[in-house]
């Protein structure tokens, strides 16, 4: 029940913030902040109340399920395991920071802004928690519209274009996933006679070999676009660079992670055979993404666009790891999701701070800021180091684990992926060099980080250091879930003797067909 309350809390908080914003902008800010803080504290208490050491029969810490549309087998089904909990913590942590970061930046329609922030967070939490595919799609879409408004109303100059592109890309891919969900639903239903969208029931559905890859393709489209993987990435630089700082943080830190989460949670366990067949191609796409993202990042002049392309590069590691199918790689992916969320979020926040001072994102107009704003310089260099994968910071652990895992799956591609690390060094150092070193190009005196800004940046540094120096709690927390996702790959694959039956009728023209039998044995209760 507490899981449902988390989502309801955010949604109600959003509405309250909107209403309060009509009277006083600060009310809206405080309501949003306190709501997110409450959610954050709830998830911390969930972490503390469920120690990892206790051996339990199931790794699901809690489940909550009530029927929603029983006629279709849809239930409001939420469940929490280690992976979801980690993702929730990340969601609320970045949520808090994005509210804080907008405190001064957003001056118009403050109430509606915070409504959107809280509803995005609610949608994302829903995606991380739900164990019903209909509900999953529902939340998947719910998080889009507030994000669209965040980009479209409070974004930079070219915001409408970016918002359109973001919305249409994600919506199109999401609809393909919906088709796959329906296909899965009907195949499972005709195999077993029970029509349900429940994740646990659908696990282990057997498909005819011809259909499995198509169903997987639908899911993959949604997740690969969201992640994004290279041919589908073109929405990302626009959306990231035009969004307000909070929007960029949520996009890079959280929305991309829903794609990675979807791969881990749905594609891997639902389609073991199809996924294995697709794995070499997926890994290739991952490596292409790593290198392509890095090269493009290096050649950008727009600071936020540059950071956006680093996301493309980093997310390449995620898909590389996911399709390696081993525990090392999966742990690496989970770490990458968290550390990338923090480090890239942090870089966007730094870009936002710079934008507030300079009103430009063009790094050609920056340079030599270190003497003027040393504190920001220090923070920015820590985050840049994290982004390039310096040992001691979280991203190193993530990328190291991923590469170790993917080496076992594919040597050649791993070598190319490793080159990506070198490229990461190049573009990360370029940020520092162009912005903070060299000749001072500031036309007017810059102010260093204020107390509020420091209090935003410090937790990020602490988090990234903690993840780099002592990642064990996270790894322990993720382990049971990771094992569970890999379950289907450990067993020797026993193919069913008789392939599942397909109901594909081909009738010659003008034959007499009884209507009631059409549509299989779709049971109407």
């Amino acid at each position: 029940m507490i899981l449902a309350w988390l989502i309801i809390l955010l949604m109600v908080g959003g509405i309250l913030a909107w209403i309060a914003g009509r009277f006083n902008a600060n009310f809206a800010r405080w309501i949003a902040l306190l709501t997110t803080l409450a959610s954050f504290l709830i998830s911390i208490s969930l972490w503390l109340n469920n120690p990892t050491t206790t051996v339990k029969a199931t790794n699901w810490m809690m489940r909550y399920e009530v029927p929603w549309v029983p006629q279709w087998g849809v239930s409001f089904s939420l469940a929490l395991d280690g992976l979801s909990l980690l993702m929730l913590l990340l969601t609320f942590f970045l949520g808090l920071l994005s509210i804080l970061v907008s405190w001064r930046e957003i001056k118009t329609k403050v109430g509606f802004f915070h409504f959107n922030i809280l509803w995005v967070l609610a949608g994302i939490s829903g995606v991380f928690l739900t164990m019903d595919l209909f509900l999953f799609y529902f939340f998947w879409e719910v998080m889009l519209i507030p994000m669209y408004f965040l980009i479209g109303i409070w974004g930079h100059a070219n915001r409408m274009y970016a918002a359109y592109k973001f919305f249409i890309f994600t919506q199109a891919s999401g609809l393909l996933m919906l088709l796959s969900i329906l296909g899965l639903y009907f195949i499972h239903g005709s195999n077993t006679g029970s029509y349900t969208f429940n994740y646990f029931d659908l696990l282990g559905t057997t498909f005819p070999p011809a259909i499995g890859p198509w169903l997987m393709a639908g899911f993959l489209m949604a997740f690969l676009v969201k992640l994004p993987v290279v041919p589908f990435h073109s929405w990302l630089p626009d959306a990231h660079s035009e969004a307000p700082t909070a929007g960029s943080v949520i996009l890079a830190g959280l929305l991309l992670k829903t794609g990675a989460y979807g791969l881990l949670r749905f594609v891997i366990p639902l389609f073991p055979e199809a996924a294995q067949a697709f794995a070499p191609w997926a890994m290739l796409l991952g490596v292409v993404g790593i290198l392509y993202g890095a090269i493009l990042a290096f050649s950008q002049t727009d600071l936020k666009r540059l950071i956006a392309y680093t996301s493309v590069s980093h997310m390449g590691f995620v898909i590389l790891g996911v399709f390696s199918f081993n525990e090392w790689a999966f742990q690496g992916v989970v770490m990458q999701m968290i550390t990338h969320g923090i480090s890239t979020g942090a870089l966007f926040i730094m870009a936002g701070f710079l934008y507030e001072r300079l009103h430009t994102r063009d790094i050609r107009q920056m340079g030599g800021f270190w003497p003027a704003i040393p504190r920001m310089g220090v923070f920015a260099s820590i985050f840049a180091m994290a982004s390039l994968g310096l040992p001691g910071l979280g991203n190193f652990i993530a990328e190291f684990l991923t590469l170790v895992g993917s080496w076992q799956a594919n040597n050649l591609l791993t070598i190319f992926a490793t080159i990506g690390l070198v490229a990461a060094t190049a573009y990360s150092l370029r940020i520092l060099q162009k912005v903070f070193l060299g000749k001072n190009k500031a036309e007017h005196p810059l102010t260093d980080l204020s107390l509020r800004e420091m209090s935003i940046a410090l937790p990020l540094v602490v988090a990234i250091l903690w993840l780099g120096l002592y990642p064990q709690p996270v790894l322990d927390r993720a382990k049971p879930s990771v094992d569970e996702q890999l379950e289907a790959y450990k067993k020797p694959t026993i193919k069913p003797e008789i392939p599942a039956q397909v109901t594909l009728q081909t009738l010659p023209a003008d034959t007499v067909r009884l209507l009631n039998t059409k549509g299989g044995i779709h049971a109407l209760k």
Partner: protein, 483 residues
Amino acid sequence: MRLSDLYFLMPLLILVGAATLNMLVVAVKRNHKVIFGITIVAHLVAVFTLLQLNGSSYQIPPFFVMDGWGIFNLGLILLTSLFVTLLSYAYFEQREERKEEYYLLLILATLGACVLVISQHFMALFLGLEILSVALYSLIAYLRTRERSDEAGIKYLILAALSSAFLLFGMALVYAVTGTMSFPEIGVYLQSVSELPLLLLTGFGLMIVGIGFKLGIVPFHMWAPDVYEGAPAPVTAFIATVSKGGMMGLLIRFFSQADAYRYANLMLIFTIIAIASMLAGNLLALRQKNIKRLLAYSSIAHLGYILVAFLAGNRLGVEAVSFYLVAYFITSLGAFGVVALLSDTERDADQLEDYRGLFWRRPATAAVFTAMLLSLAGIPLTAGFVGKFYILASGVNTQQWLLVLMLVLNSVIGLYYYIKVIAAMFAQTKSVQERRKVLHPALSFASGGAMAILGLLLIWIGVYPTSLVQLIRGLLATFMTTF
């Protein structure tokens, strides 16, 4: 004719009575409020009598049948017409023309649609269709001093008459072959022949022209944008919902009673029509600057979506059509309701420019309109999403991959122009436009209340569709046994 038939025809008789009463009242003294009141009460009483019929399945040979499908459609039509009436008051109160006959015509048009959905005989079908059409001719051109009203009215008159001629000819051919005009008996005849005689196929083809015209599907859609644009906003809402829904109800009844689903030729025709409607509707809507035209093209596309579920041809398909009709009716009423609400005495608020920055001027209206547009686009939390989901489910269930993929593709195209309107509403405007003169609050209360109810219904069905699904399944139980 038996006496008990009257009980089952009560909703229709009440409409007839209300129309007569309105006419008499107008003869005595013109009063907008009184006529409005009579119309509302008549609708409510008709709905009430309809509720008494719930669960019955009653034949009134040879013309009518009152079964679950009929009751569902009657309820939908009556409620929609009620909402149109509610929206009309404030709209016509602002206008100089004589308002009272409008309600008379509206009731007659509703009556026509009601006859249509319970008919099981060509005569009743044609009777209903003509009552509906003739009332619509004058409704469309009601504000005849407007620039485009006459054009729209005459266009509709000519094309509707032409399509009626096609329909009649088609019926004549079917009658010539089968020797009967009643749907079940046509079904019996079709069972006896192994394949469709050419003459019968021609007859069906000609009938599709007539039906397709009323549904506004490609290639019979040309009238839609002009008529939508020229007609007064509440009338446009009526055409988009009751007129099309009534025809859809009839089409499904005809196909299921005559068991025409099993003919691949007919299915192929409808498949092509469905795909063409979706594509043409959405592509043509992309560049519209006029909201009413945009919604006209969008409704062409939506009828294409409904045909996808219709083509599933099974129980799930009919359920999906029913659900989508409800969602689409609520959405269309809401969207045109907003247009009506924002219109002033000079012209309807149909330019995209009228909506720029609306959210910051009239947040509630803009929020309702946003919800309606998102529902048309099929975004979750709205009824449109569940409807689209239902249609996709019925398509996937019968493995019509081509249609389903076209639907997905079109949803994405459609998204673009719906967002365009939403984006305009949320755009920041420099100049603060002066607020329009607001009517007396009591006058716009009916419209405002109607819009609020529609918005809540939209969200309610979108979040918790269970009760509506239950209702539809319950009603279809009596229809499907005759399947």
